[in-house]
Amino acid sequence: MSPPKPRHGSPLLLLPIALIIIALAVLFAWIGGWFGNKNVTPQTMVNTAEASGTQQPGVRRAHAKGICIVGTFAPTPAAAQLSTSRVFSQPSTPVLGRFSSPGNDPHSPDNKAAVRGMALQLKTDDGQEWRMAMNSFPFFAASTPEAFQALNAARLPDPATGKPDPAKMDAVLAAHPEIKKFMAWSKSAPTPDSLANTRFNGVNAFRLTNAAGATRAVRWSMRPHTPFVAADPEQLKTADRDFLAADLDRRLAAGPLKWDMVMQFAEPGDPIEDPSKAWPETRPETLAGTLTLVRAEPQVAGPCLNLNFDPLILPKGIAGTDDPVLHARSSIYSVSFNRREREISTGNLHTGSVR
């Protein structure tokens, strides 16, 4: 005997099924930003960076010009009390890094860049990894990624005039007054005449946790052993577009270059989540170690070119804060990395376009 045939339901029930499927699809598309996302996204920020100058394939969307660097980091005994990270207990950690100039042009002239970058990758013997991306400015241009995006968008040429619209910039500065402070720094601060005597600042705040479980908010900086010498603005005008790389090679041929890594500790009430506000210079500091660079090489075939120096790649014992700019940098660098690696993969490259 065969079992009784089940009673079929009304075909009209296909309607709620279709509605459930469509609702899920719409929700997924909304979460994925296909529509309705009025927020600034990492993609919109990278689009703006690409529009800041002719974007060449296979190169970074920002800080495109760079030099690979190689060296070591040796911690001080005091550093081991700050964080359980192996970087602070291992006698010496190999360092791969990159000096960079801002903008999306891998051939940008060194003598026109007011800002320089230093990115580092430290891999310890416990398999942990620390990447950092520092800059020569003492504080970031804006409090939030949205304000930074507004600034960069206002700098783009207006399609009608071919020049940035001053009214747009005025509106951005009125809405985000902290940017004026950065512009004032950028106009007045003397530019060091070498990468070797440039101080690099982490700018964003991080948290160090030690073996006792104590956690402190810090900002770090790399302070050069090489004495500061300001570049002569007149000489800078006629300097070679690659004078920084030539100077670095000359100095490294004479011997290693060193920077002290200094941790600055926040006190209660300090703006931990606002990288546009430097903490007072009177805050306690600890010398955490010394970075020694021994070698530099062009990035074109160098080991630093296809690394994403994501500042949220951190070893155990070091964590990010809720600084929104720190998190945005991680998101934006990832989009830039994905785009340029894809261009390399699909062969969409002009040979020799990368210096």
Partner: protein
């Protein structure tokens, strides 16, 4: 060989728990790539959840190969039998491939593969921009393929439960 009337308990537990995990994974993935503020938090969820799905998918595949599934209704049109079989194997392929591609892609990108704070997985591919530049978009495209296959699977399950009112939905929803 006698075919069972229902999927066995392990298959049912894995099916429903992985349904939740995979849907969560797809939404986390879609959100993290467009987020300025929550990428780190979402990525820290995405990697261990992806490894868990890979391990569960292996257990599930072995269980599926060792235990015959309950039969489809004898009167099911052949095109629907074909669609059911093809989509089930596509789901198996994708739930195994997606975590592996994710792991391979991070390896090729030169990234540390962080499972938990202080615990990293080994790289399964050498650092290679060309491979990363291929695998990263593939991971995104296949995520959409997986999502649409799951929607089709859900639609078919509800069709069996509400319109055909046959035994198919109960085979995965209930035990013997």
């Amino acid at each position: 060989m006698n075919r069972p009337r229902h999927f066995n308990l392990l298959a049912r537990v894995l099916h429903w728990s992985m349904a939740v995990a995979i849907l969560a994974m797809l939404f986390v993935g879609a959100a993290m790539v467009v987020s300025l503020r929550h990428r780190e938090f979402l990525l820290d969820l995405h990697r261990p959840l992806g490894l868990a799905i890979l391990l569960l998918a292996i257990v599930r595949l072995v269980n599926r190969l060792l235990n015959a599934p309950p039969p489809l209704p004898a009167d099911l049109p052949r095109i629907q039998v074909w669609a059911a079989t093809a989509s089930h194997w596509a789901l198996y392929a994708l739930m195994l491939a997606m975590p592996l591609i994710g792991w391979a892609m991070l390896s090729a990108g030169g990234y540390p593969i962080v499972l938990f704070d202080g615990v990293n997985l080994p790289a399964i591919l050498p650092h290679s921009p060309a491979i990363y530049g291929f695998l990263r978009p593939l991971h995104g495209v296949l995520a959409y393929v997986l999502f649409f296959t799951i929607l089709a699977h859900l639609g078919a399950a509800l069709y069996h439960a509400w319109v055909r009112r046959d035994e198919v939905f109960g085979q995965m929803a209930k035990g013997d």
